[in-house]
Amino acid sequence: MKFKIKRETLLKPLQFVIGVVERRQTLPVLSNLLLQADTGKISLTSTDLEVELVANFDLDVQDGGEITIPARKFLDICKALPDDSELNIGFKNERVQVRSGKSRFTLATLPAAEFPLIEDIKVQMEFSVPQRQLKKLIERTHFAMAQQDVRYYLNGLLFEIKAGQLRTVATDGHRLAICEVDADITSDDHHQVIVPRKGIQELARLLEDSDEKALIQLGSNHIRIQLPDLRFTSKLIDGKFPDYNKVLPKASDKFIHAGRDTLKQALVRTSILSNEKYRGVRLTLDKQSLSIQAHNPEQEEAEEELEIDYQGEPIEIGFNVNYLLDALNAIPEEKVTISLSDSNSSCLIEPAESKDSRYVVMPMRL
């Protein structure tokens, strides 16, 4: 294997794939990345056995070959070399040599055959959506995923695929986030797959606000997403996502119409003096007014009064302020609608105009 490459050409794909290389490895080869050089093409692959990332780019390759090299050290070397350096990469005596100007590095290798690749995912269905849409689906919902929950099927993001529509749902059992976009899906089948948290975090990092298509492929145990120069593959969580439709509030009779920023800022200020562990705030609603109160074990108190558009009955209800803020932060629109029924039932937060994302939050007993 032998090729020459500009530092800048290498850096971006390297930074893309480095994400799944964990620092502590059970298998030594997992701290390496697979470097494959072919006629006119280089590909870099990393894996943690759950998520696999492949970056491809075109290059004039002198001699082809494949080998695995320590991922972080290789990235650190590339980062530390001066701008516009040219790297000469070659393989000799079981080692990879990187030369650039007056610098020379010799890296240990492991055979490419030892690198665990996710080969054929047995594609059962595929469709495309613009990258921008996929990015939106993730950004609007990912924060509600559970973390290390014993209900393992909550530690990921649900993708629900049906004719004409792609939807994502995340929940940790206390709050839930849904977002949907129109998609060019012709299949009449209804598919639900759960992508693990780790995979979603990586995917979020790779997606850009572009109209270029992302090809989504579903296998029986994997999801694969093809981007122009990148390929993302993740195992799926083998489990059944709870029936989220059942928990969408339907009996709401009290509606708050408010400006997102005004509400957000009032909540942020109040939250400073809420209990650090439980994060409770109390919302008291009356005709055209909302008061937000918080107090902590040190007996400190915060109170905010807001004039809002509210016509319903007076009500008092407690929430974890972080859940409200997470939802408000995910909504880009200016105006939001919050629907309530009583102090023991969940509330629904959604943008006032579009209904493409919805957030359900369970109250707290205060």
Partner: protein, 383 residues
């Protein structure tokens, strides 16, 4: 003074009490004739055939073809155990339970009220016999180490009192393996150095022991001299609830290990619910054949006393340990810690978890009321 109380063949004795028709037969609790379970307890009749607890049921049946195998009814044992603890509580609040059938009592402060420790132990033995129709072995001694040996040395129906002045006379002739922390390997090494009894260890230069075994050497020397400063830690002060089992012979079979861990998980969960506390951290303890001991824990996102949640976490932790290679295992344990008394104030979207908790409590109640394992989870010792 400390009293160590150890119920004789507890699970098996409770079952025999419930089913008088089985009296005199060799009985074990745990697994079934066809299954690959582990003996959780063996009656003294069964022990005569060489059947011991933590032995695979299949081997037990080979030793004793007429063996009666009964399923484990943890809830029943927990309720009997609770009854026994109530008897202990009449004499002292300083109770440290080691498992359902074993506890240390510190009666130092009770002697003024109830008379000498030996009298208290005798009274407890007779209370348990009269009220529960069960036999307990008791050891009375100035510290935990000696009390535990004392309760064991005359089992079943043991009653041994070691007064402060006679500790050394009692310990000296005992074999070295009686010392806590002296396993097969240490025993061999000590024997190679010419030590057979506790007397021999006591007369050895402590520096030699420390040089040879480090911290363990110091520990061995102190115990051999009848010194054990550990206090009795009562449950109210306990920061975790745990259960563990040492196998009669090392086990490598994954299914048997999982079955035992499942049983221990349930035991811990039932005790948590009984005390109405929920914990956040689930831990397992594994001691390998070479005495290397590891613990692995996982902190959950919510406090729980839910059997399923605890068992799933235990299974996950254990399977992770197995990934590093399968070796014969001597002891497994489960514990839950990170208690929080505060009820979770955050509402739940999916009521099923809440329902599961209620179901667990309800099934505990049914089992308690009707004695036998009317309701239990699908996965048990049998597979």
């Amino acid at each position: 003074m400390i009293i160590h109380l150890d119920m004789d063949a507890f699970f098996a004795s409770v079952e025999l009490r419930e089913r008088p028709e089985l009296a005199g037969l060799p009985v074990v609790v745990g697994g079934s004739a066809s299954g690959r379970g582990v003996v959780a307890a063996a009656s003294y009749e069964a022990r005569r055939y060489g059947v011991v607890s933590a032995m695979p049921v299949a081997s037990a049946i080979r030793l004793c073809p007429d063996l009666v195998c009964l399923p484990v009814n943890m809830t029943l044992y927990v309720s009997v155990s609770k009854q026994i603890h109530e008897i202990f509580y009449r004499y002292t609040p300083e109770i440290e339970p080691l498992s359902l059938d074993e506890a240390f009592l510190d009666v130092s402060a009770s002697e003024k009220l109830f008379g000498p420790a030996a009298e208290i132990a005798k009274q407890i033995k007779s209370d348990i016999k009269n009220e529960c129709q069960l036999i307990v072995s008791a050891g009375v001694a100035p510290n935990k180490f000696v009390a535990k040996i004392a309760s064991d040395i005359d089992k079943p129906d043991g009653f041994v009192v070691i007064e402060p002045g006679t500790v050394q006379d009692f310990l000296d002739p005992l074999p070295i393996k009686r010392i806590w922390g002296v396993g097969k390997k240490t025993e061999q090494l000590l024997q190679q150095a010419g030590m057979e009894t506790i007397y021999d260890v006591r007369n050895k230069n402590p520096d030699w022991l420390i040089q040879r075994f480090g911290k363990l050497g110091d520990h061995i020397y102190r115990l051999a001299n009848g010194q054990d400063k550990r206090a009795v830690i009562s449950d109210a002060k306990a920061k975790s609830i745990s259960a563990e089992t040492t196998f009669a012979s090392d086990v490598q079979d994954k299914d048997i290990l999982l079955a035992m861990l499942s049983q221990l998980s349930e035991q811990v969960a039932v005790r948590l619910r009984d005390k109405d506390v929920k914990g956040k951290t689930v831990s397992i303890k594994i001691r390998f054949h070479d005495f290397k001991t590891i613990t692995r824990s996982k902190t959950l996102s919510e406090i729980t006393f839910n059997t399923t949640f605890i068992w799933n976490t235990v299974k996950e932790l254990f399977l992770q340990v197995l990934k590093t290679g399968v070796r014969p295992i001597r002891l497994v344990g489960v514990s839950v810690s990170g208690f929080s008394a505060k009820e979770n104030v955050q509402g739940d979207l999916f009521e099923q978890d809440v329902k599961q908790d209620k179901l667990d409590v309800l099934s505990d109640e049914i089992n308690q009321r009707f004695g036998k394992s009317r309701i239990h989870r699908g996965r048990k010792l049998t597979k």
